[in-house]
């Protein structure tokens, strides 16, 4: 029987080519989108899963009463808690933030590179975690001045030579260090810890290396700078241990600022278990959910298509069913027959989907900025659920269709009674409405995302950042001649006619602040203001003019004020927001009052007009401007024209003053707009999803129009004979579908509006969704729908009525 069913299914599929093609293409489009997104979601879920003892690994995380959380611990915490609690089998400390700097191999001709993906880690790093070690002994990382490199980095610095035993120079905030390469490792791409080089943390215990950086002392309990992971005995009661950890911490670090220590499961470090999870995570749970939702909506649309097209075809199949029933077929055997056909159709669709995936993979990867392939689909719960959804959907849509087709009474069918007005045609209407509702929802969301993006990119920032080149300051060669070389560089800039203005700062707009800190107050401020965190920007006297930022009161720093020692300085500027935050009634009041920063007293020289230091997602922070001619960023305003030539000149000057340093630069406006990458990604994603959804919906609509016209051929013929014009007929045929699209609009608009309002709450500065966007999105869908329908309707309307009537 099965063989027979398969033979029949194949005959049916090949006999109704157009219908089968529409159906298979629809399924393929839906399945392809689903598989692409499954790659992403499945990979997100697989992060860190390669660690052998993943379920015992927990990261220590601090939370503060105001809702902030951060994973940086005091370096002394790890050893302290291991000593006190036997459940803590082991710990490992690692951190990238403090290691970043310029790296060079010990060869005079070698190029220096700025490295951000490098870190210091405890000696047990390679036994604690499960990164595959390709060469070297894991225990060698216990020694100071040792480094392990990833195989990719090994190739970058050493080519095909073996790096083992070679020397690497690292220049960062600790100055210069020479490290011996002792091992090579591999880092799976689904790891959140992505270090290109791992330097031994033991090096920070060497006094000649850390010099006067007291904060870095390896056992201290006062500065939070290093992440700490612990390995807990199986069955440890987390809540109880957290309580004990906090008690111990408070006995050692008495200041009670409300900071609490927590244990974050490493398995929830990439994607938290819920939206309420307060801990920092690497992945974006919302993004995963939104993508998952899009995948499910699109694949559902494909099944709706299948159901619609197949039940519409039922008219043709009903006759056959009637005969089969009369000559002895049971309903079950007929259901088997049609289910076989449905499964075959889905199988062909899935095959085509795999081809499509291979074809569109690069486009999709570009869209979500990841390197995915079909092998990114890891065998985990998400994948099993995803494949389960695919199978269930295929079976259910086939099952429903089979039930509808085989449900007709044989006599009704043989008598050629109309079966078009049965229940299934109502269901078809619902499904078309659902398809268009999804499409309209996606289109509307896309419009709103782009409106918001455009709004953020076009808003006045309160500063001027075009034609502003930002060069990364030097890290290598901070010896006795450094001060002179720096002065020479500044003189070089001043004497360069193409440089209009320049500024040396520790922080630039679009690249966050130097740091955030609390402890500020003034005599008239409210209680509790000391707890509030202020942003800290280290700038020189040229910062405000270079960025065209206005002052509302007081004055800018003078050159001499920016060269005062860090701890001797008692002068700052505030922005308007900081003035308000501190409780001053006016900018004038602020410049006539001294403020306190813990035990230090500071004079407010000037009040800076509010400007957007970070993207418009964020409200303007209260900022403290601290005077120093810093080295992190050199912002240089160029004259118009021949930009490349000007940059080349600057590079020569930079290389002369700071040999062995990489010349790295970016344009301030580009860097600033890079903050909107997430939103652009959403925009591109929704554009694609909308396009995809509309394509599937139109395939279905095309099929349905074909069917409904075939069913009404006689009626159309009669109407034409009676004098109906082409446009009368076209309108008649389109009107039914237009009504459905309008109903879809009524459903989709409020839902999409609500969803996007929700999304917009992420932004401190956001658009009001203009009312006309809603009907506009419906209009777009309507336009596309009518276009699709017209292909068929106009053809029918133009045809000779006699032909239609003769066939009767």
């Amino acid at each position: 029987m099965l063989r027979n069913n398969i033979v029949l299914a194949i005959r049916n599929i090949t006999r109704n080519k157009a219908y089968s093609l529409l159906n298979i293409t629809g399924i393929a489009l839906g399945t392809a989108a689903f598989l692409l997104i499954l790659q992403f979601v499945s990979r997100e879920k697989s992060f860190n899963s390669f660690h052998k003892e993943l379920h015992q690994l927990h990261r220590l995380v601090y939370t503060s009463p105001d809702g902030n959380s951060w994973p940086e611990m005091e370096p002394g915490i790890g050893p302290l808690i291991k000593e006190h609690f036997p459940q803590i089998q082991d710990f490992c400390r690692y951190e990238s933030g403090i290691a970043q700097g310029v790296v060079k191999i010990n060869d005079p001709g070698a190029d220096p590179f700025r490295e951000t993906g490098i870190g210091y880690a405890d000696g047990n790093f390679f036994s604690f975690f499960s990164f595959p070690l390709l060469a070297g002994k894991a225990a060698d990382l216990e020694h100071p001045f040792t480094v392990f490199v990833s195989n990719k980095t090994a190739k970058k610095y050493f080519g095909n030579k073996s790096p083992i035993g070679q020397s690497i120079l690292l220049y960062n905030q600790f100055g210069e260090g020479t490290f011996r390469v002792a091992g090579i490792y591999d880092i799976p791409d689904n790891s959140d810890i992505q270090y290109d080089m791992v330097f031994s943390l033991a090096t920070l215990a060497v006094p000649s290396y850390v010099k006067d950086n007291d904060w870095a002392a390896i056992g201290n309990l006062s500065s939070q700078y290093i992440q700490t992971m612990v390995n807990l005995s199986p069955g440890t009661d987390l809540t109880h241990l957290e309580k004990q950890l906090n008690e111990l911490r408070h006995s050692k670090i008495p200041e009670q600022d409300g900071t609490k220590l927590h244990l974050q499961k490493m398995s929830a470090m990439h994607l938290p278990d819920s939206f309420n999870d307060p801990f920092p995570s690497f992945g974006n749970l919302k993004y995963v959910y939104v993508l998952g939702l899009v995948a499910i909506l699109i694949v559902f649309m494909a099944w709706f298509n299948y159901v619609n097209l197949s039940t519409a075809q039922a008219l043709k199949r009903a006759n056959e069913i009637g005969i089969r029933k009369i000559i002895g077929a049971s309903r079950a055997s007929l259901i088997q027959l049609y289910l076989t056909e449905a499964m075959l159709m889905n199988l062909l669709g899935a095959g085509l989907a795999l081809l499509l995936v291979l074809f569109i993979q690069p486009v999709f990867n570009n869209l979500i900025q990841q390197e995915l392939t079909l092998t990114s689909i890891k065998w985990n719960n998400i994948t099993i659920t995803g494949i389960g959804i695919l199978l269930t959907g295929a079976v259910l849509s086939g099952w429903y269709t089979a039930m509808v087709i085989t449900g007709y009474q044989p006599l009704t069918v043989l008598k050629n009674k109309s079966i078009g007005s049965s229940k299934s045609s109502v269901v078809r209407k619902y499904l078309v409405v659902a398809q268009f509702a999804i499409s309209i929802g996606l289109v509307l969301s896309t419009f709103i995302i782009y409106k918001q993006l455009q709004y953020m990119q076009d808003s006045a920032l309160g500063m001027t950042i075009d034609k502003l080149l930002v060069v990364r300051g030097p890290s290598v060669g901070k010896d006795s001649s450094y001060a002179n070389r720096k002065s020479a560089f500044i003189t070089g800039l001043e004497s360069n006619p193409q440089v209009q203005q320049f500024s040396l700062t520790g922080s630039v707009p679009g690249s966050y602040y130097n740091f955030r800190t609390a402890g500020f107050s003034q005599p008239g401020s409210n209680k509790g203001v000391e707890q509030k965190s202020f942003a800290f920007a280290i700038v020189d006297h040229r910062y405000l003019p270079t960025y065209s930022i206005d002052l509302v009161a007081g004055r800018n720093f003078t050159p001499s004020e920016t060269s005062v020692e860090w701890n001797q300085n008692d002068k700052v500027m505030l922005n308007e927001r900081a003035v308000k935050e501190l409780g001053f009634k006016s900018a004038e009041e602020a410049i006539s009052t001294r403020i306190s920063w813990d035990e230090r007293s500071l004079q407010v020289l000037g009040v800076v007009k509010n400007y957007h230091h970070t993207g418009l997602q964020n409200a303007i922070d209260p900022i403290i401007f601290y005077p120093q001619t810093n080295n992190v960023y050199y912002s240089i305003r160029l004259v118009s024209g021949r930009i490349q030539e000007q940059i080349a000149k600057l590079e020569t000057l930079f290389k002369q003053s700071f040999p062995n340093n990489p010349f790295e630069y970016f344009f301030a406006d580009e860097q600033f707009n890079r903050q909107y990458i997430a939103e652009s990604k959403y925009g591109a994603l929704f554009t694609t999803a909308s396009f995809w959804a509309i394509l599937i919906a139109c395939l279905g609509l095309f099929g349905l129009t074909t069917y409904s016209i075939r069913a009404r051929t006689r009626e159309i013929g009669i109407r034409k004979v009676l004098g109906a014009s082409v446009s009368d007929i076209t309108t008649l045929l389109s009107l039914d579908f237009i009504k459905l699209v309008l109903v879809a609009g009524l459903i989709a608009c409020p839902l999409a509006w609500w969803g996007m309002q929700n999304w917009l709450t992420n932004f401190a500065y956001k658009i009001e969704i203009p009312w006309w966007l809603l009907p506009f999105a419906v209009l777009v869908a309507l336009f596309i729908a009518v276009g699709t329908i017209s292909i068929q309707t106009i053809k029918t309307a133009l045809s000779n009525p006699i032909k239609a009537l003769k066939t009767d």
Binding site: M1, N4, L8, R11, N12, R15, N319, E320, G322, I323, R324, K325, I326, I327, G328, A329, S330, S333, P410, L411, L414
Partner: protein
């Protein structure tokens, strides 16, 4: 074999009840060859459908081999007709997607007949109706008469006791029609198959041994 007692069937149109069949009483014994005649709309096909259990009466009793059909559930009824009745249609109603061979074989598939037996039985039928050479053709490639032969072969393959034929020659020319009637007579005489046919033609009706004349849903003559 078949006993109809006071069978009536109607539709309601507004307040009027229009009778399709009214108080029909018939007895049909095994081995009879009956022709049902009457003008269009007299209820011939409706009667045939009621006898074939494709349709049910609104009133009256129907006994098939002493089983009260009117009390059976839909499922049991269809089991009964699938076992005992073969249908032949005016429009042949072959399945377009199946070859001649497969069309004839299909009823056996639904009865779970073994593959070897099926082959033999279909082979016999093809021989009997002289259509061996057409077995791999699709219905669309056959003439009307050939299609009806296939239709009859399909109705006979499951060895039914009763054949119901609704104007089996209605779409055929007179020579093809005669052929079909010859086959029916032969089946009736040689194999004792009971046949009930609906027909317009006096000539075809004469092949049977009894004619039932219908007018406006009533039996006018029962010769």
């Amino acid at each position: 074999m078949i006993k109809l007692e006071h069978i009536s069937k109607w539709v309601n149109q507004g307040n009027n009840r229009i009778f399709l069949l009214k108080d029909i009483n018939i007895n049909i014994g095994e081995g009879e060859f009956i022709s049902i005649m009457g003008p269009s709309g007299s209820g011939k096909s409706t009667l045939l459908n009621v006898i074939g259990m494709l349709d049910s009466a609104d009133e009256g009793s129907y006994f098939f081999n002493d089983q009260p059909v009117h009390t059976l559930k839909e499922k049991q009824r269809s089991l009964l007709y699938k076992q005992h009745i073969g249908f032949v249609f005016q429009a042949y109603h072959l399945i377009d997607e199946l070859t001649v061979y497969e069309n004839i074989e299909t009823p056996l598939l639904y009865q779970d007949t073994k593959s070897a037996d099926r082959k033999a039985m279909v082979g016999d039928m093809l021989d009997r109706f002289n259509i061996v050479g057409k077995k791999d053709l699709f219905p669309a490639n056959l003439s009307g008469g050939q299609q009806q032969l296939v239709g009859i072969a399909r109705a006979l393959i499951a060895k039914p006791k009763l054949i119901l034929a609704d104007e089996p020659t209605g779409n055929l020319n007179s020579k093809q029609g005669e052929e079909i009637m010859e086959i029916f007579t032969q089946l009736n005489k040689e194999e004792g198959v009971t046949i009930i046919q609906v027909t317009h033609s006096e000539k075809n009706a004469a092949y049977g041994n009894r004619i039932i004349n219908l007018l406006d849903g009533r039996i006018e003559h029962n010769r």
